[in-house]
């Protein structure tokens, strides 16, 4: 059902480069996993609504007001710019460098 050509396409969608050996071994793994999950075809799901949130919460929203105090009663936000900047692989002084996209 799933062949190397399909796996190559999926890997493209998932933005993961695969070498030849890896492609072959992952294709086998995927075939085995998808074979196992095929048993769901046995189930009669007519009229059944899919379950997304296990304990029933839906469409949670907060009021569109800027909070005056920290949002969480327990946490003080610690999003200092330099910590975040330092994490960026393409980081240089005061900037996050990213690869060229256009041109």
């Amino acid at each position: 059902m799933i062949d190397e050509k399909t796996v190559r396409h999926i890997a493209q969608l998932a933005r993961i480069e695969l070498g030849e050996k890896e492609l072959s071994s992952l294709t086998k793994d995927l075939q085995s996993i998808l074979e196992y999950v095929r048993k769901l075809e046995e189930v009669d799901v007519s009229g059944v609504e899919p379950l997304a949130h296990a304990t029933g919460r839906e469409n949670v929203a907060r009021d569109d007001i800027l909070p005056e105090r920290p949002e969480s009663p327990v946490r003080t936000p610690n999003l200092q710019p330099d910590i975040l900047e330092e994490q960026a692989p393409g980081h240089t002084e005061g900037e996050i460098r990213v690869p060229r996209i256009l041109g």
């Binding site: 999926i10 998932a14 059944v48 296990a54 692989p89």
Partner: protein, 517 residues
């Protein structure tokens, strides 16, 4: 005093209050134990000796002034490395996050910090919490302290080992399909998977957002109850958490025990009113007979105290693992898309930036052409730094969600998911708690299941249903099985309806008492 590393959290708290033990002494004892045993067991990926000592000194001062913050003040904890602690590395067991330093505390961590708890370090796990043995960790597996030739279970293996080998008082792990309960069973400690939505996922590196929950490990049920009480609650930073009043419902005929632990209230249940269900689908083929025997002994220990026991059925159980291995990878494929080498983590860019900056500005057109483009960064970074299991699951999920396959795979799995939840809703009209084995087998040996991914997935067969249905489940060690001259405690799994953690703790304590007599 006996070796302080063997104390439970509640025992240590008593000694702190009596002045018989200082928090700094307990922290020092654990740091020494870690230094001595971690090289072999590989439970910890990072140890925060200096920070822990400083925090312990501050706790000492609070006790000296008779002003402790509560029952967790001064208690040293281990935290799974997919849970963020501000200023500390968080690898999620993966090379792709090896350079990553967290910029904030997970809400669960912040709550524990406010309670005075001390963080000893971050524990080992299967990469991105994908696995049942820690063999998928990019930093080497952790070892089962009962028999180091065997796996400790996973994915929260490191945390389970930390508690079992007395390298921490208690620990935090995370659950998506059994990743707290199964290693708890393999290592002989207590582990809880909370009701979905009861513990904030803010600061937990996401694997499958509709399934993930942070869960505590402890040496006793009471310790786990204490930790759960501290970390649970509504969080504005996680919209999937439940509003506070939901917790008070308790959800059983036992009446509602306040979910925050009162000091001195042991919360023991009333066995004569307890209705226990044994789902027949969990006691069939594939279950080691010796484990079955211990689980039945546990059930009998409740029966002799007056509990009613009956067989029940959860007919969609055989489909739970298939549902899990479709829904979870689908959500994984979305959650791991953020690891693209741009904002954080390991990246092609780290290796090439300086050279790239020179080339991009070069007068030579050919050099400018060789500048790495963003495709390369995505494709190569993810190829190079993700391990095999994340790749497998990302690909399965991408396939299941892709055009032409979505209805047959993901959508169908979410419908069967609803049917599995319905099974539980129905059964909890007849019984209060379900008792099953946590794992069908004893801890397996390293390498036994790494050749065939599905064989590893089968380790979760009794645990995944609770995650799928969002209900809480507790694994409590009971009895033991001897194998190759080692004694392996057996994990007994208790499941109850959503928000019925108080009932799980009550029944867990009954089993604990029976086990020690």
């Amino acid at each position: 005093m006996e070796d302080p590393t063997k104390l439970s959290v509640t025992e240590a708290a008593v000694h702190f209050r009596d002045g018989a033990l200082k928090p700094s002494e307990l922290t020092e004892a654990y740091l020494a134990a870690i230094e001595s045993q971690n090289p072999e067991l590989n439970a910890y990926l990072d140890v925060f000796a200096d920070d822990a000592r400083e925090a312990a000194k501050r706790a000492d001062a609070r006790f000296a002034e008779d002003a402790p913050r509560g029952p967790l003040d001064g208690i040293p904890l281990a935290v799974k490395d997919n849970i963020l602690i501000a200023g500390k590395r968080a690898t999620a067991g993966s090379k792709i996050l090896e350079p990553y330093v967290a910029s904030y505390d997970a809400t669960a961590v912040a709550r524990l910090r406010a309670a005075g708890a001390i963080f000893l370090g971050k524990t080992n796990l299967d990469e991105f919490a994908m696995g049942s043995s820690t063999e998928n960790s990019a930093f080497g597996p952790a070892k089962n302290p009962i028999d180091p030739a065997r796996v400790p279970g996973g994915s929260s293996g490191g945390s389970a080992v930390a508690v079992a080998a007395d390298l921490a008082s208690a620990a935090l792990g995370s659950e998506t399909g059994g990743s707290v309960r199964q290693p708890a069973a393999f290592c002989g400690v207590v582990g809880l998977k909370p009701t979905y939505g009861s513990v904030s996922r803010s600061g937990l590196i996401a694997m499958a957002s509709s399934l993930d929950q942070i869960g505590p490990f402890g040496k006793t049920v009471e310790d786990v109850e204490l930790l759960f009480s501290e970390i649970s609650g509504h969080d504005p930073l996680d919209a999937t958490t439940h509003p506070e009043p939901e917790f008070r419902r308790g959800g059983t005929r036992f009446g509602v025990a306040p979910h925050r632990v009162d000091e001195g209230n042991s919360g023991a249940g009333h066995p004569r009113n307890l209705r226990i269900g044994l789902p027949k689908e969990y006691f069939g083929e594939g279950l080691d007979d010796r484990i079955r025997k211990e689980v039945m002994r546990a059930v009998d220990s409740l029966r002799v105290q007056g509990a009613q026991v009956r067989e029940v059925s959860l007919p969609y159980s055989p489909y739970a693992l298939a549902v899990y291995y479709l829904v979870m990878p689908s959500e994984v494929s979305a959650n791991l898309a953020r690891f693209d080498g741009i904002r954080y983590g390991a990246s092609l860019l780290r290796e090439t930036t300086r050279r790239q900056l020179q080339h991009a500005a070069s007068a030579d057109a050919k050099q400018r052409e060789n500048v790495v483009n963003f495709w390369d960064v995505y494709f190569e970074t993810r190829r190079k730094f993700f391990g095999d299991e994340p790749k497998r699951r990302i690909l399965v999920g991408t396939f299941a969600l892709s055009s032409g396959y979505y209805d047959a795979y993901y959508a169908r799995a979410q419908k069967v998911r609803a049917l599995i939840k319905r099974d539980f809703d129905r059964v909890f009209q007849e019984v209060d708690v379900l008792v099953t084995p946590t794992s069908p087998t004893l801890p397996f040996r390293f390498g036994e299941r790494t050749q065939d991914p599905v064989s590893m997935y089968l380790a979760d067969i009794y645990t995944v249903s609770a995650n799928i249905a969002g209900i809480p489940a507790l694994s409590v060690p009971f009895g033991a099985v001897e194998d190759e001259e080692k004694l392996f405690p057996v994990g007994v799994q208790l499941m109850a309806q959503a928000f019925a953690e108080p009932l799980l703790f009550s029944v867990g304590k009954l089993l604990e008492s029976a086990n020690f007599s």
